[in-house]
């Protein structure tokens, strides 16, 4: 018992000194579990996030936009890949992680449980959803677990490109025909509040924050990050002539921040608990891809084994 306390104490001192924790280092079991949970949740969000955007690839309005969207969704698959690899360094397999997703044990970002109903939603997702994600992820580039922090550095670069691409789509629509502008405004109306919900519950309802701050997984609270996002995004909407759908939104000179209206927390919890507009469909799409692909994965394994046996036999014979 005493040894464990000494180890935990040393561990915390390393984190406090700004050192990175690497996979083979000693770590408290709770630190390992928290990271598996958070990194896999992040990885799942990347691959589930491919679905709402993938929904518009075949209908993209121009070749340039189609290629841009294909590349973006492909980047997300790549992010999923290296986040799963980062999680695997903590002693869990990708198959186990997928199983947690498919059985509903692991969560992913609720934003992807909203439908993409028009082309402008692709712009709104890039601008708002990637914008909100970046705010979280920039913070995570300095998190204490080395593989996660390094994955974040790379992911952030690509995400900020996606965010600019999304904003540029919205800019084009907002400056386009009345139908295009209406499409852009409608997308903003639908994605604004769910984007604010991406930062999680209010601080007083967020039980994990204190421990996460200690381990440098979190350096700012949910409410601080949400405020930061709003302060950055409101002027961007004004610049392209779109209206944020919040009648209570107002610059507060004294605070130096925007005041904003109340988030619909009932909606937040409804979606988190699995009853949002697309929860069932998103999860089913992932389960179907996995189930329909099982014969492919089995064949690849069987072929690899045959090849290895063949090489083994040839070595014995020579």
């Amino acid at each position: 018992m005493g040894d464990k306390i000494i180890l935990e104490d040393k561990f915390q001192k390393r984190i406090d000194a700004g050192e990175k924790i690497e996979p083979k280092d000693w770590m408290p079991e709770k630190y390992r579990k928290t990271h598996i949970r958070q990194i896999s949740q992040h990885a799942h969000s990347e691959i589930v996030g491919m679905l709402p955007e993938g929904n518009w690839i075949t209908r993209a309005p121009s070749l340039r936009r189609k290629v841009g969207l294909l590349a973006k969704v492909q980047d997300e698959a790549g992010h999923g890949l290296y986040l799963y690899s980062a999680a695997e360094t903590l002693g869990i397999s990708r198959d186990q992680l997928f199983d947690q997703l498919h059985t509903g044990k692991a969560k992913y970002s609720s934003i992807f449980n909203y439908p993409t109903l028009s082309w402008a939603d692709i712009g709104a997702i890039g601008w708002l959803v990637d914008g909100a994600a970046i705010i979280n992820q920039v913070m995570l580039t300095r998190t204490s677990f080395g593989p996660y922090a390094r994955a974040m550095v790379r992911i952030c670069k690509e995400e900020s490109f996606h965010q600019r691409q999304g904003y540029e789509i919205m800019l084009g629509l907002a400056n386009g025909t009345p139908e295009q502008k209406e499409m852009a405004q409608d997308a903003l109306n639908r994605f604004w509040w769910p984007s604010l919900m991406m930062f999680g519950p209010r601080d007083e309802d967020s039980p994990n924050t204190e421990q996460s701050v200690k381990w440098k997984i979190k350096r700012k609270t949910n409410d601080e990050l949400r405020q930061q996002f709003i302060d950055i995004t409101v002027p961007q909407a004004e610049y392209i002539g779109l209206t944020i759908p919040d009648p209570d939104l107002k610059w507060n000179e004294e605070r130096g921040h925007y005041d904003f209206g109340e988030i619909d927390w009932d909606e937040f919890w409804t979606v988190v608990k699995g009853n949002g507009p697309c929860n069932k469909e998103r999860l089913q799409a992932r389960i179907d891809a996995w189930d329909e692909g099982s014969w492919v994965r089995d064949a690849a394994m069987s072929y690899a084994e045959k090849q290895a046996n063949q090489i083994g036999k040839e070595k014995l014979a020579s």
Binding site: I57, L63, A77, R297, Y303
Partner: protein, 248 residues
């Protein structure tokens, strides 16, 4: 004009197959295959942009790469039937890809020497991509053909469905023949034997057979398509048709 049609036929093979692959994004059997197939789709659309921007510049006035890509009717598409056949399962996706990739690579090799400088330049650039595509699809032909009993059976069904359309890749239309004379188009007769040798070699390695399969009617290069193409275009052209003449 026949050069224009030739460029469209090259572009349409890439565009329609690229579209089929783009339908899969996010639904692949593994993340790695998902990334690879999306990558192939991206390469194919990159080639389409190359061809259609050249054609738009030649045709002038209001013609753009997008008007050429999105505003033609069914009968004005000249892709081979193979490229428009559906993503029935991963076996069909791989077999369709492999049959096309080998042809595509060999066709591009010849087109590098096209007397049309634009076609030659696109061929040089695209060849590197097509070589990678072929490596990918060939490796999966072997894995799935010689993997498990289940995968082998599925692959044989896919070969039975798709091989009967392969002959169309070598169908030479009248307008193509003229262009072969002038050195613009690739004379696919010169690569036909090697093509069949290569794919039969892979099929044999993968324990797959083409015994008893006969060629099916396939006139995609003449603008006669299967019922699949209409649905592809309904989706592909939706935005440009619903919101005409807008910038995106």
């Amino acid at each position: 004009m026949s050069v224009d049609r030739y460029i469209l036929s090259l572009s349409d093979n890439s565009m329609i197959l690229g579209h089929r692959l783009s339908e899969l994004c996010g639904h692949g059997p593994t993340l790695e295959t998902d990334i690879a197939l999306t990558n192939i789709s991206l390469d194919l659309f990159g080639q389409v942009r190359g061809f259609l921007s050249v054609l738009a510049a030649r045709q002038g006035s209001d013609v753009t790469e997008d008007s050429l890509a999105f505003l033609r009717r069914e009968r004005e598409h000249f892709n081979c039937i193979l490229t428009e056949l559906p993503n029935t399962d991963f076996a069909h996706i791989i077999v369709r890809q492999y049959f096309f990739d080998v042809f595509h690579k060999m066709q591009l090799e010849v087109l590098q020497q096209s007397t049309d400088q634009d076609i030659a330049a696109i061929a040089v650039k695209s060849l590197k991509e097509a070589k990678y595509h072929e490596r990918f699809s060939q490796s999966w032909m072997l894995r799935l053909g010689d993997g498990t009993e289940v995968s082998h059976a599925k692959m044989q069904v896919a070969v039975n469905t798709l091989y009967p359309y392969v002959h169309e890749l070598f169908d030479l239309t009248e307008w193509e023949k003229e262009l072969i004379e002038s050195g613009v188009a690739a004379d696919t007769e010169t690569i036909k034997e090697e093509y069949y040798r290569l794919i039969h070699q892979t099929l044999a390695q993968a324990n797959l057979s083409t015994d008893g399969l006969s060629n099916r009617y396939a006139k995609g290069k003449h603008g006669m398509h299967t019922e699949n193409l209409g649905f592809i275009l309904a989706e592909f052209q939706y935005m440009q048709r619903a919101y005409p003449q807008m910038e995106w």
